[in-house]
């Protein structure tokens, strides 16, 4: 269940409380997130929408431990990440977060296999076990025949599927997807969303996704809007508890 009122106990997987983020640009202070609350349970699929510059990427970066908030707390599976040191946070990311970016962010000089293998290099898995995991992940995204291809030899949709394989290969606690279909045509976008939905349904993945595209957002269980630094529920009522508005 997804809530935005911050009014529940500590049972949810991701728990965000009073999250504040200010950026300093010259003498100007930009107050992007203003006391934001969010609860996400295991297996939830949440879409974030909102105008450009509303702070969607900022929110994902904070939840993913890529940036630190100005105030507030983020707790994931009982770990409070807001007070972790940088190196602790790096280790935490490797264990818990799978990132999928708009521009795929594959390493151009590494093959599909090597790109997907990257997160596993941070684990204690043997070379043989790594190979098995990579092959499984590439099979899930339907790219076993592209193992040794370089990113430039793949279409945008294929590149994004490799990126998804890389995000899931180490079986992270949740996936963070920022505009993952932003650079794709309708057809490829649909395929990618089918894949994400399958990951969620078959493998019980927890997915937090930012998108501009209402069609894409509809695939999620819940769509939340980022407005004036806090999250509000969209019209679609299912999946959101009553009184969820902050």
């Amino acid at each position: 269940m997804v809530r935005v009122d911050g009014g529940r106990g500590s049972s949810s997987l991701i728990q965000v409380r009073g999250l504040d983020k200010k950026y300093q640009r010259g003498s100007e202070e930009i107050h992007v997130l203003q006391g934001l609350n969010l609860d996400v349970d295991k297996g939830d699929f949440v879409a974030f929408m909102g105008p450009s510059g509303s702070g969607k990427t900022t929110l994902l970066n904070l939840i993913g431990g890529l940036d630190v908030p100005s105030a507030g707390s983020i707790t994931v599976a009982g770990d409070e990440i807001t007070h972790m040191s940088r190196s602790k946070l790096t280790e935490w990311r490797a264990r818990h977060v799978g990132f999928v970016f708009q521009m795929y962010n594959l390493i151009p000089v590494l093959t599909a296999f090597q790109n997907v293998e990257l997160p596993l290099l941070l684990t204690k898995l043997s070379k043989a076990d790594r190979r098995k995991h990579v092959e499984t992940a590439l099979a899930i995204v339907g790219l076993v025949d592209r193992t040794d291809h370089y990113p430039r030899q793949l279409s945008g949709g294929q590149e994004q599927r490799v990126a998804i394989a890389r995000a899931i290969v180490s079986d992270p606690t949740f996936l963070l997807c920022d505009e993952l279909t932003g650079d794709l045509d309708r057809k490829s976008a649909d395929e990618i969303m089918n894949l994400i939905q399958r990951l969620m349904k078959e493998f019980g993945k927890t997915v937090l996704m930012v998108t501009h595209d209402p069609v894409v957002a509809q695939r999620a269980d819940v769509t939340l809007h980022l407005e004036k630094g806090v999250l509000v529920e969209a019209a679609k009522p299912e999946g959101v508890t009553a009184g969820g508005l902050a």
Binding site: R93, R95, F101, L118, L121
Partner: protein, 389 residues
């Protein structure tokens, strides 16, 4: 585990035009560095091999070079009777010598260069066993005949077998060519010491140095102690090798110091080249780096990865520089021997040790040029770098 190493060579390959500048900078520096050192090494080796540990060189006390000495015939007699001196049926193996320099035109340029002319005893070949006649014959005692070193005959016009040459007011005929196995003697001209003294109007019984062949190299101390204890003698005695080692020092030091200065200046340039290449690599790949940081690679992994890349580029440069100077090995050149103001031929010696130094120097340049960009790569905030397209 670290960022896979294949990431670095492949990235370098993709942006090879940028790497070429750094590679060439390092290659040039290492090339000059190794060339200078092998020049010094060659010069030293030539002089040092001239001396034998089984020979002692006797000079007037206080004289630092042969050409400054004065040893009298009486003193030569004492030396001949000293313990430790090798003897044959014809007597002791002792060569009282006089050295002068005479100008001869260089074959290459036609300009004059000073050749060291050594007046030796007729037993000189027995005293210096490395020296062999390879063409013609040895000079006859008491006759104005010359034998010339193998480099001297090649380097100077006129010093060919059977030629007559004029110097010091006399006319000499070249009767033989000798080979001393690549030592300094190969650049010399030898004749009978007594004839040389006459032609140059020098006192007949005064020599500049005496080279003594010892019964063995162990006999040196015994010989030296006996001669030094003799109140009639006022001479300095050293092993021939040590003397030539000392002779080589001034120029070797000069070459090494000059070489180091040049290499340092070039090295600073090469480091800037490496810095430039690596900074632009870091800038161009900031999103790749941020992605790897997001995945969970630590700051240290990023630093190590970019250091590996810098070291890869610099060792490539180092190897190229070494390969470029390799053909210099054995290449013969000439230089002034500053102790005697005569011309000395010697060859570059590119040894494995020098090549190793060259590679090491390259790695140091890579490290210095790679560390600041590597640190910058690791410090860049991940969220910020991910936004940059």
């Amino acid at each position: 585990m670290a960022i896979p190493v294949v990431y670095n060579p492949r990235s370098v390959k993709v942006r090879w035009t940028s790497a070429v500048v750094a590679v060439l900078g390092v290659a040039g520096t290492v090339g000059v560095f190794v060339a200078m050192l092998s020049l010094a090494r060659g010069f030293k080796a030539t002089l040092v091999s001239s001396g034998s540990s089984g020979n002692a060189l006797v000079l007037r006390a206080g004289a630092t070079a042969e050409i400054m000495g004065a040893v009298t015939l009486d003193e030569v007699k004492v030396l001949e009777d000293a313990p430790g001196v090798a003897r044959t049926a014809e007597g002791p193996l002792v060569s009282p010598e006089t050295v002068v320099v005479a100008p001869f035109p260089l074959r290459a340029t036609g300009t004059d260069a000073n050749v060291q002319v050594r007046g030796v005893s007729p037993r000189a070949l027995e005293v210096r066993s490395k020296v062999k006649i390879v063409e013609g014959r040895f000079f006859r005692p008491g006759v104005a005949e010359l034998i010339v070193g193998r480099n001297a005959t090649r380097t100077y016009a006129g010093l060919a077998l059977d030629n007559a040459v004029k110097f010091g007011g006399g006319t000499w005929s070249v009767v033989g060519v000798f080979d001393s196995g690549g030592t300094a003697f190969d650049s010399e001209v030898w004749c009978d010491g007594r004839v040389l003294n006459q032609v140059y109007h020098r006192p007949e019984n005064v020599f500049q140095s005496v080279t003594v062949h010892l019964t063995s190299s162990d006999a040196f101390q015994q010989f030296k102690d006996a001669v030094t204890a003799d109140p009639r003698m006022s001479v300095d005695i050293s092993r021939e090798v040590d003397y030539y080692d000392k002779q080589s020092r001034a120029l070797t030091t000069l070459i090494v110091v000059l070489g180091s200065i040049v290499a340092t200046v070039m090295g600073i340039g090469a480091v800037f080249g490496a810095l430039n290449t690596m900074y632009s690599a870091v800038a161009e790949r900031s999103r790749e780096i941020a992605t790897m940081r997001a995945i969970g690679f630590g700051a240290a992994s990023v630093v190590v990865s970019f250091l590996i890349e810098a070291l890869l580029i610099s060792s490539l440069g180092g190897a190229l520089g070494c390969v470029a100077v390799l053909p210099l090995n054995g290449f013969t050149t000439g230089a002034m021997n500053w102790q005697t103001f005569s011309h000395l031929a010697f060859a570059f010696r590119v040894t494995p040790a020098l090549l190793l130094w060259g590679i090491l120097f390259a790695l140091v340049m890579g490290l210095v040029g790679g560390l600041p960009p590597a640190i910058r790569a690791a410090r860049r905030p991940v969220a910020l770098a991910l936004r940059a397209l």
